[in-house]
Point group: C2
Chain length 427, copies 2
């Protein structure tokens, strides 16, 4: 404790600039204007082509500008970076911190890639860098972990961190196929025209890297975390999953084990009894496993203007009211994708005698045991889906086996494999 | 922002005393000893009859004492109050704060009754009073709200805040009756020999009062919040609830409406689609509804030595690392129990003609409409349970109607009524 340091109530007003007046930026401005947050004065709004952005409900004293230098050279105390992307925003954030301004950002990409360097810069300059909105939008996962779970030793994170994928998969759970649901998500504004960031797992990966740093105190390189797209999941997989008492979700999982981080993002089977199976629509959910406190679950709206704005304004209030987070150190840590869990492996084949024997042989070579083989009736032998459930095995051993199996002439489609989480809870 | 105030990393060591070496106190000591938390030095352990408490894994330098004055006159920086109860702990906490020591407490009763006065004292003395462990144990609801949702305007809290009741009701959901499940809970150590605090709703009420202060920023008097026991719930009520797509949980609910707090603790029907229905066993869950961010859910272990200790150590780290919460003001607010929701009303009668007419008449006098009447087959006419679902009505109007109905000679047992939450989500 800082002996002799007194509790203080903020009396000084913080001057605040918003960079980026899109959905989140305008929601932040709305909250600041409507709620009259104590000790906060919005002074600048920056946007390209700012003329078309002007809103009449913003106080007349606010400066609208498309000149970033005007913001960065002004006596603003806190810059809210809500533009996104690595550059030029990275440069703006560095310049803001460098000139003694605190920064609040919702930019998961920037924080995942450069968060450590930016945090170091902020420390050196005696200012703050907060990014609660970068993970799970309005769900207070980052402050919940940093303040509320600081006393635990967190060993595991399992999250539903991408609302687009969760929307698609929870619709597919009701019977739809991937392509039409993706189209619906695009129509509703939940998915981009190019959905790769979401569907490919890259958006969730950036968030998982940030959570690993905060919860596991492990610095992992973004590119070292393997991502698997959800695009190969078909309705048949939900049918088989259901038979096993499971559903399918895009899960971002990181676990600290023997000094390494086991991290992976992709579709996985989760038992219907798991909280992860409860998430519906664009909801986000994060399960944090601690050595002392056990599992804690956070869930809510992971995206959208207002929920994300709540996280931004909360961070701003923390800075303005002189609140501080508990700073615990993180350490550079190696990453592996070798989760030792059971796997779901789905084949689509032109049936002929000997297929199971060949597949079982390739798995046995890697010392992978088969737990069960599932084959729903009613499919044509010339286009036959069936599923092998493998006992707990490492992803790398399975990969070797599947590479060998890929050469079989009977395979009509690439084989799909997914980890099965929490398999001990299967009914 | 405190202009010119620099970010600091704690270098001073905080001396810490534990008051109460029971389940939580010894878990806290265990975490402090095993995790070697930076900047923390355990110096005193206080307990009555301390000789029988000594543990060999505690560092030899720690002073074991049964003399509270020895602790309070020592140069301890932070006192962890884990004894519980209003007195003499209240006096100890006041003396600790008064002598410039910060206090971390898990004492919900003390904080619910005297939190505002104690917080004022802490302010005056320039020290800190943290009580994250007082609500939902290891689930970081208080820091999650204070830090992560400070930017929202929270209008509603719905919580499962008592693990004992949730254990009993989730067992009853599987078909058991109240009395034997209570016995099982007592055997497992989940319920006290005198279960009134838990089963009567008083434990949950103290937590709801604390959450109202933090989330709704409304100071309400503990005695003003009405409590209903769960003891009258029978297996038949779960059968009817199931028929309606619901289950039954002890819910603590507070909502800010027209400048008043609508607050009530007791058994309620919740749709199976609601997160509140997912909680199992001794789990705690809190749903926080914000004007901007929508619903956020927190869940996890609400009690037990280790989870509660995580909350205590997190608060201690916050103080030791110079972290500060966002201090937002709360206001004295009137309380009403008049939740305007549909109600479940269960009668057990000796059947005769005209009962429904009399009941319907008494309800109509209070302008309460009947939505449905449910009567499961297979019961004896001399001891017949049936259920009336009333359209949204205030608790006070319903009370008047039920007082009139209580005089009917056909009633074999007191009538049971429960609010139905989230009725729009009923299947």
């Amino acid at each position: 404790m800082m002996r002799g340091e007194k509790r203080r109530v903020s009396q000084v007003v913080s001057k605040v600039a918003i960079l980026g007046f899109g959905t989140v930026g305008s929601s932040v401005a709305r909250i600041l204007c409507d709620e009259k947050s104590q000790g906060i004065e919005l002074t600048h709004i920056f946007n390209r082509g700012v003329a078309r952005k002007r809103a009449d409900w913003v106080p007349v004293g606010v400066t609208w500008t498309e000149n970033i230098d005007e913001v960065l050279s002004s006596p603003v105390d806190v810059v809210l970076e809500l533009v996104g992307g690595l550059e030029p925003t990275g440069e703006w954030v560095r310049r803001a911190l460098g000139s003694g301004k605190s920064v609040v950002t919702a930019n998961k990409k920037l924080i995942a890639e450069h968060g450590i360097a930016l945090d170091k810069l902020a420390r050196e300059k005696g200012v703050h860098l907060y990014y609660g909105a970068a993970v799970a939008g309005g769900v207070p996962v980052i402050p919940g972990i940093q303040q509320g779970l600081a006393g635990d030793r967190i060993t595991r994170i399992e999250g539903i961190l991408n609302g687009t994928c969760n929307f698609i998969l929870s619709k597919m759970e009701e019977g739809a196929e991937f392509a039409p649901v993706l189209k619906e998500a695009q129509k509703l504004g939940y998915a981009e025209a190019d959905p790769t960031e979401d569907v490919g797992g890259f958006d969730a990966r950036a968030k998982l890297v940030i959570l690993s740093r905060i919860a596991l105190r492990a610095d992992v390189a973004v590119k070292d975390v393997s991502c698997k797209p959800i695009a190969e999941i078909a309705a048949i997989d939900f049918a088989y999953a259901k038979e096993m008492g499971c559903t399918i979700r895009q899960i971002s999982r990181a676990e600290l084990k023997d000094g390494r981080v086991l991290a992976v993002v992709g579709p996985m089977l989760v038992p219907k009894t798991s909280p992860l199976a409860w998430s519906r629509g664009t909801e986000n959910m994060v399960l944090v496993g601690g050595a002392y406190g056990g599992d804690v679950v956070f869930s809510g709206h992971g995206a959208g203007g207002h929920p994300t704005a709540v996280a931004v304004v909360s961070d701003l209030l923390a800075i303005a009211h002189g609140s501080r987070t508990i700073d615990l150190p993180s350490m550079k840590t190696a990453v592996s994708a070798d989760l030792l869990v059971p796997h779901y492996i789905r084949f689509i084949v032109k049936d002929r005698p000997g297929i199971i024997a060949q597949i079982a042989g390739a798995l046995a070579e890697q010392e992978i045991n088969i737990h069960a083989i599932l084959q729903k009736p009613g499919y044509n032998k010339t286009n036959l889906p069936f599923v092998v459930i493998a006992e707990p095995c490492s992803g790398s051993a399975l990969k070797c086996a599947l590479e060998k199996i890929a050469h079989l002439d009977c395979l009509l489609e690439p084989t799909l494999d997914m980890p099965i989480l929490d398999a001990e809870n299967l009914s």
